[in-house]
Every structure is written in C-alpha cells, then in structure tokens.
Amino acid sequence: MNHLGALTIFFCWIVLISGIWLLIFFRTSVSGAFESVEYLSREQWYLGGIMRSLHRYASDAAILVLLLHLLKEFSFDNYRQNRWFSWITGLPLVWIIFPLGITGYWLVWDELAQYVAITSAELLDRVPIFTAPMAGNFLSDAALSDRFFTLMAFMHLIGLPIFLVFGIWLHVFRLSGPRINPPRALMSGTLLSLLFLSLVFPAQSQNKANLALAPQDLQLDWFYLHAYPLVQAWCPGWVWLLLVSVSGLIVLAPWLPPARKALPASVDLDNCNGCQRCADDCPFGAIQMVPRSDGKSYAREASVNADLCVSCGICVGACPTATPFRKRSGLVPGIDLPALPVAQLRKQIMRLDPRDDGIVAIACSGRAAAAKLRKAGEVVVEVQCIGQVPPAFFDFMLSRNIARGVFLGGCGEGGCRYRYGTDWTEQRISRRRDPQLRERVDRRRILKSWCDLQQNQSNMLRQLAEFRAAVGRTGADDT
C-alpha cells in the first residue's frame, strides 16, 4: 500500500520494454495489424506472446495500482495543503494513461478494437472540434484508411508516452527525494506474478474486425473500458458530463471543506545558527537557506515557505537547538512548530505519570496507533510525526528517569504520512543522521514499532508487551 505510485511507474517500465519488442514485429496498417499481432501470439508464443501478455497485464496492473494510489492518498487526507500540486498533477496522468491503453486496444484491430474505435469516435464526436463525425471513418472497411491507423499508432507509441513521462516528472518534481522505484522484493514479486499470469492465461485477440458486422459479445478489459458500456446505455454527452464532473471534483478536492491548515513552522533567528539540517530533512522542500538578515556572524538562516509547509515538525526534530537539556527558562529552538512547540512537548513529558513499569509511548497522531495505545491503557505522547521529536528527548526521558523505556509508534516502511519521519528517526537513533542520539543512551530501552493502519496493530501491542518484559529484565540486570 505504501508503494502504489512507484508500482505504477514500475508497471509502466514493463509496458515500455514489452512494447518495444511488440513494435519490432507490429505492422501499422489496417490489413497488417491483426495478422502481426496474431503472429506474435501464436507463432512466437514463447517470446512475442509472453511479451504481449505482459504488455497487457502490466497495463491493467498500472491502472489498478493507480486507482488504489488515488484512493489511498484521498482516504489518508494526503491531498490538501502543499500536496495539492501532486494531487492535481496526478489527474492528467489518469487522462493520459487511459487513452494510452485504449489506443493500444485499437491497434490489435480485432472485434474489441472495432468496438473501441467506434465508441471512442462516438465519444469524441460529442466534442465540437470535428467538422465531420469521426465515427464515419468506421462505417465500412472501405472507409477505413491506413493513415488513420498510423495516427493511432503514433499516439500510442510516441505522442501519449511523451506526455506521460513529462506528467510523471511534473507529478513528483516538488517532492524532495521522491520514491519512484518500489522495493526490489515487490518488483520481483509483481513481475513474477504477471509472468505467471502471462504463461497460464496468455492474452489473445478476439475475432478479426469486420465493419460489415456489429460485435455482439465481447471480452471487455474493465480496467480501461469500464466507462464504454455507458456510452451505449446513456449517451456520449452524459458520459462526458460524468467524466468531467469527477475530474472537476478531484481538482477542487484540496480546497473543499473540511479544510485544515495548521500554522507552518516558524524560525527564531536568535536560536538559528544556519546549520541547514532542517532544510535537509524537510520532506517537502519547504525550507530554504537564505542569507542572514539579522547581522549575526552566521552565513545563512532558515526560511520557511508557508505554502509548502505541511506542519509535520520534522524540521524541529532536526534542529540541534531543540534539546530539552537546555538550561534556559524558555526553551525556544531555531525552528519550532506553533501547534506543539518543543517547550510544550517538554512540559508534557515532564508531567507524565508512567505506569509502574515506566514505559512511555510516543506516537504519531492522525494514525490509529496512538488511539490504540491509549485504549490499551498506555501512557502516550502524541506528536504530529515521530520525526518531530528530537532524539535528545529520548535521552532526556531515560536519563531523568521520566521513563524506563520509550516505545515509538510510527508509520510503516514507506508509509509515513510526512514521507520521511520514520526514516529520519531511525537514522538519528542509529547515529547515521544529525542530530544523533547520544551513544550513552541504552538502545535496549527504545523500541521502534513502525506499522500501518492496514497492518495488524495487535502486532504492535504484542511488541510492546515483549518490550515491557525486556525493559523489566534490563532494569533487573542493571541493578
């Protein structure tokens, strides 16, 4: 679930590579298209047939994961604030991928292609851009020209793929370090399952297109053609209205109520030394290092772009001045989150009343983990993102005996709502990223539990129970 976008790109790679093989043997003419595809499927089944099946099934899988990606981001509320850009730029990708697949079906020139061609033409004829009905090109075999067919091939092979590549770049270019490749195990697993499917159920053409006959019974690819029966059931105008309305809602969604916009991170120049860690760690590129404006000797200072800031607090977790050990009356770090300032977080932690076993959980809010822990009777500190907590806080809690064990509940691998919260926390604790957790801190007293909504969270409670027992043993050993 956390790699759906990257999986879509991976499937596009499979489509591209298999498509290159198909192109070598494909003849872009009305008379040659069907025969060349049949040759690939039957005579060269051992390679061309598998490539064709992979081409088709990977295209279908791309649509499946693309729609799941859209649903996931919507249901996790990942489309508002500065994410509106990625959300909206995803829509043209949908409008490109569907015609890309549909023109692919067209090229096979079997009965399904005939249906697709006529229905697509009827749909396009509702758009007042053609002087004569495009559907008139599919009235009889004599009316159909090779040139029209070549145009479709051009759109499928060159035109739309160029827009797709540009669209993917646009979709991710505002993200820092976008994940465009899923984990290798996931790539291998999905590729093997598509290969298996291609071997067991190779894609086959339906009867050759014959415009003198009307197709009667079709094996429709519902991933791509689910809207086409509506053209017959309603009329092209209503189908356009539906498609445009859904697209319009998607475009407007980031600004539709309930809109929630927390205050962005704020920089305190008295405490900012221009170290750049906040800018490096910000997953959304919302922090820029700019020339110093207050005359201090540091070269630069952090500057927050409020439009891009999602108020995750990961920058606070990166700030070396956000340490609870500071001997100042007011704990004000170089960068802070107005919704939960570091000083307030320290107060909250110091007021904690842990259970006898001394276990305190820190968990991301907005995920079910915190609620589940609270429901289980645990002492929980809720933060916007686990990456918001500077590692010095773990040291603080353990060295000041506020807690005997710190349980960190965050999002699963690749599923962090703020992209890198769990990654950066992992790296800070293991001293691979600044600010590092001091070596003196006993790592056995910190448990990281990253799990998703969709994963079984009873697993998390089991981990916590084991951690509690382990901390108890550690305490006994220490004494």
Partner: protein, 163 residues
C-alpha cells in the same frame, strides 16, 4: 507463514488483474438484432440564388478574387427521416456545420433493429421546400443477425446508398 501470505497476496493480485481484463463478458448486441447505421455528410442547397457578376463588378475586385458568381454562404438544414416497416426510427433537422452555416450537415446514427425481412424507407430534404423530400429510397431487404447495414448518401450520384 510470511512467505505463504506473500505468495497468496501475489496470487490474488494476478487473479484480480487477469480476471477483470476479460471478465465479465459484455453483451453488446442481442444475437437476433442487427444495426442500421445511418451516416453521411451532405451540404444542403444555398439559402439564396447565385448572382452573375457584371464585368464592371469583376473589374473592381482584386484579380485573385474574381469569381463569376456571387453566392450566399448559408445553406439549408437537412431534414432526414428513416422508417423501417413504416415505423419512424429517426427524424431530425440537421444544421449545416461551420460558424457561417456554410458547411455540410452530418448525420450519424446507429439504430438497433430486429434481424429479418424489412421494408426500409429513407428520405432527405435539402432545399427550401416545406414538405416532402428531395431524395428518397425505399427498399425491401433481409437484414442478417449481427449485420451492420450502412445507409449513406452518395453526393456524386445524389442517391442513397444502402449496403
């Protein structure tokens, strides 16, 4: 257990992809039905008569615009009617295309009919007459199940074409 669940997940993924790429089948047309495609483009007559320009008028025009006739741009809409076994299946007044209504009128209709023996009538009016048709064709024919019967209009011979 972890590997088993992964295999099950990948198998489920393959099943979903494979299944919905061909299933459920879509019955587009009843086996005993056929399609009559009424489709053609035709320009109606001009709204007014052409006027022959005098030599003096021609001389006043730039050399590249000296056409002997001055014709109005607008054309009459087409009135098209299709009946099968005396039953009216299609009737429409089709406006000429183009901003100046000087282009062809287009008709494109796919009508489902029962296969079998039928009497087909098609008529078109492209002039300023108030009733009746300028072109008609009536034919008895047998339409096979699944046939796509094309009813068009040949602008050269100015006759309906049924094939």
């Amino acid at each position: 257990m972890k590997y088993v669940s992964q295999i099950v997940a990948y198998a489920l993924f393959a099943v979903v992809v494979g299944l919905f790429s061909i299933w459920p089948r879509y019955a587009l047309l009843d086996p005993q039905k056929a399609i009559v495609s009424l489709a053609f483009s035709h320009a109606g007559e001009r709204i007014g008569e052409c006027r022959r320009l005098t030599q003096e008028e021609l001389n006043e025009l730039p050399p590249n615009m000296r056409k002997p006739d001055d014709c109005p741009r607008r054309r009459h809409p087409l009135f098209v009617q299709l009946k099968i076994d005396q039953q009216l299946l299609y009737e429409s007044l089709l406006q000429p295309s183009g901003l100046w209504q000087d282009g062809k009128s287009n008709v494109y209709q796919r009508i489902r009919v029962d296969a079998g023996e039928h009497n087909l009538f098609v008529g078109m009016r492209d002039s300023d007459r108030q009733a009746g048709f300028d072109y008609t064709q009536e034919i008895d024919l047998v339409i096979s199940p699944g046939q796509n019967l094309l009813v068009g209009f040949d602008a050269t011979s100015r006759r309906f074409k049924i094939q």
